[in-house]
Assembly symmetry: C2
């Protein structure tokens, strides 16, 4: 299996060298061809997907996992449109990041160039296959796509269709390759193909991400773990606070930017706790609260250290009353995964202290945590949300899929 | 030892949280105090350094290693001045990288913030201790400095002096800490303190860097391996080419931006090879050449695959005649470590093809490879030269020691 993965990576490197010299027009033509082919081949894709779904059902896979796996005409049209949308975005490659003329006359320019070969290791959803291939290609990178075994037939067909479409426009088909998911070891070989693969991005549950971070010798960008907090300050507009807490927690519970923990300043606890507890319960949210929350409603369960540290991804929330904005910051610094935090306040001082004090990829002031998203941020495409500090932090778009190089032009300068 | 390292990292995290809120004025005051204290304590530093040098001599350490270890008044003054220079640089923290107002009225700003805790693992030179501490501090980061055992006494005294100076200005002393080098395992514990340390930067030989890359679970920036090429094109000004080859190879052989390999277009081989071989030999450079080079001078040794792949860091060079700029690019893509390459040419087309075709951190057009350097690039300070593509590529200054965060300000927006 190692040779299978490394051979694919070598072909990807060669294809990436060609792709790096392609113009934006070349790349957009390939993307549009991919989108059209995906739509035209919807029948083939759904046939393969039906087989994946049937096999998953036969294995007793839970229905919520089946739902992520299953495609229909609408979902295919939607990810094909996603590929077309990527074509419409500006090309990050060639952007001059900075430049200057040095005292000795050397002209220095730092410009964006493709990373090279990007490995994606992901679970469930077959739409990630098209998304990831498109974003990598637009930024001039070859992609090695290692999806889950459960979606293997769907992914194989989607990749085959995209490769044919790319090749028909004159770019090498090997800019997009599927890595077999039959054997668990292919993921390991992919993340240890140092020198052949420039970057690995895991997308999936906490277990997958931890494995990749621990086992990879290729540089990794960690994505998507969100133990997200909303802090309601002493100076909060409590109607706004209620809206933001409910939206952050209940708009969609299974996503990484959903709130998992609520902190309330003691000065507004008497007024706010009964309101927020009632509203959360009305939305079916289980509350793990401190004694102040428990005193409001007997349905509030006693919070534990573990609950404070948990990303529920479900209709559950931990809740605590804090003595000050600094106490809120200290709690967040201790338990947060560094994804997104929100403060609701009318105080400029509290907002300033909070935004500077927490250490997370995104900080919302008087807005729902659900806005941490490449689409909402206007990036046009998103390949994941980085929760690490190196290279990319927060929603990652096309720029984050590039590196830079320094071009230095002289007329014979020596030292 | 693990607890020793992790306790230091925890103290560093607390200190970093305070440092993150410090103003530029606070940080510059600490840096200037550090610089003054280093100069005033030159006697103490040299005493400790004498003991390190004596112990190294007793161990039979080679003189070139002793030379890197040994300090004198001039060297102390020089690294103290380096600390002062860092104080004079602009503060990268708080810089707005991008910003926009989203359609729903949310105000989005991406701003530079400190990384947090940075671990440095380095060899030989005690000046790195002061350099690294200053650069980390200016960018708002706490540093954990793990130097070599041979410099342990010098490093301990330098760190102690800096800590006292920092504390006297009111910032926590724990923004600068030495990690004991008595035991090899402290380096391992440092690079595996995931969640406590945000970034590890190894500085030293290829062996050290490989170990850190393979064993670290903390994100790493790889530095400094330079298998650097100079390509003399068919359209080169051969006088300029000779200057650039000689300067790139011989100005300083032990540094990562020194040339290690020479490629010459066949069209100018007859004229250029005798000149460059004579000049290199005059500078005492051993040439590992292909048959064309060997035909020029019997002293040219037969080149091997291994020689093409070697970073000599000495008065040796591999040399080959190539058929085209594309052949030169293919050779470089195969053997280069991705640090720096140079082309000498009068042809705009060749320059364009070369700069786009090679895949390295810096590409020189008609200039010596020795210019790949934070000081030469005008960054004012350099913590190393990254040869990886993630986060930082090429010389790293203060900006590269920061990450970013998104601050999103609204008036109650929900999704």
């Amino acid at each position: 299996m190692k040779e299978h993965v490394h051979d694919a990576a070598r072909r990807a490197r060669e294809a990436a060298a060609v792709l790096a010299l392609a113009t934006r027009a070349d790349k957009d033509a390939a993307l549009i061809a991919m989108a059209e082919a995906l739509v035209q081949s919807t029948g083939r894709i759904l046939e393969a997907n039906d087989a994946d779904v049937a096999a998953a059902r036969a294995d007793g896979t839970p229905e919520n996992v089946i739902d992520r796996l299953a495609l229909d005409e609408g979902r295919v049209t939607s990810f094909a449109q996603g590929v077309r949308d990527v074509a419409a975005l500006p090309d990050p490659v060639g952007e001059v990041v900075r430049g200057s003329t040095l005292p000795n006359g050397l002209e220095l320019r730092q410009i964006r160039v493709p990373m090279g070969v990007i490995g994606m290791i992901y679970e469930g959803r077959p739409n990630v296959t098209a998304d990831a291939a498109a974003i990598c290609l637009k930024a001039g990178n070859a992609s090695l796509l290692r999806g889950s075994r459960s979606a293997a037939r769907s992914n194989a067909v989607i990749v085959e269709i995209m490769r044919e479409a790319v090749a028909a426009t004159g770019l090498p088909a090997d800019v997009v390759q599927a890595i077999s998911a039959e054997d668990r070891s292919t993921a390991t070989h992919l993340m240890q193909a140092r020198g052949l693969v420039d970057l690995v991005i895991p997308r999936g549950g906490a277990g997958l991400i931890r494995t990749v971070v621990e086992e990879s010798t290729v540089p990794v960008i960690e994505t998507g773990t969100g133990n997200v907090h909303v802090y309601v300050d002493a100076d909060a507009d409590l109607d706004m606070a209620l809206d933001i807490v409910i939206n952050s927690k209940t708009h969609r519970t299974s996503v990484c930017n959903a709130a998992e923990s609520l902190l309330v300043h003691k000065a507004v606890a008497d007024e706010f706790l009964p309101r927020v507890v009632a509203a959360l319960r009305e939305h079916g949210v289980v509350i793990h609260g401190d004694p102040a929350f428990m005193a409001v409603d007997p349905a509030v369960q006693a919070v534990t250290e573990e609950a404070y540290a948990t990303e529920f991804l479900a209709s559950e929330i931990s809740a605590r009353v804090v003595g000050s904005v600094d106490d809120a910051i200290a709690h967040i610094r201790r338990y947060s995964s560094g994804h997104t935090e929100a403060i609701v306040t009318r105080s400029l001082e509290a907002a300033h202290r909070f935004t500077r004090g927490v250490d997370s990829a995104a900080v919302m002031v008087n807005a729902s945590t659900r806005f941490t998203d490449g689409g909402e941020f206007g990036f046009g495409a998103e390949i994941g949300i980085s929760t690490q500090k190196l290279h990319a932090r927060g929603p990652m778009g096309l720029q984050e899929m590039t590196t830079t190089t320094y071009i230095v032009t002289g007329d014979g300068q020596v030292r």
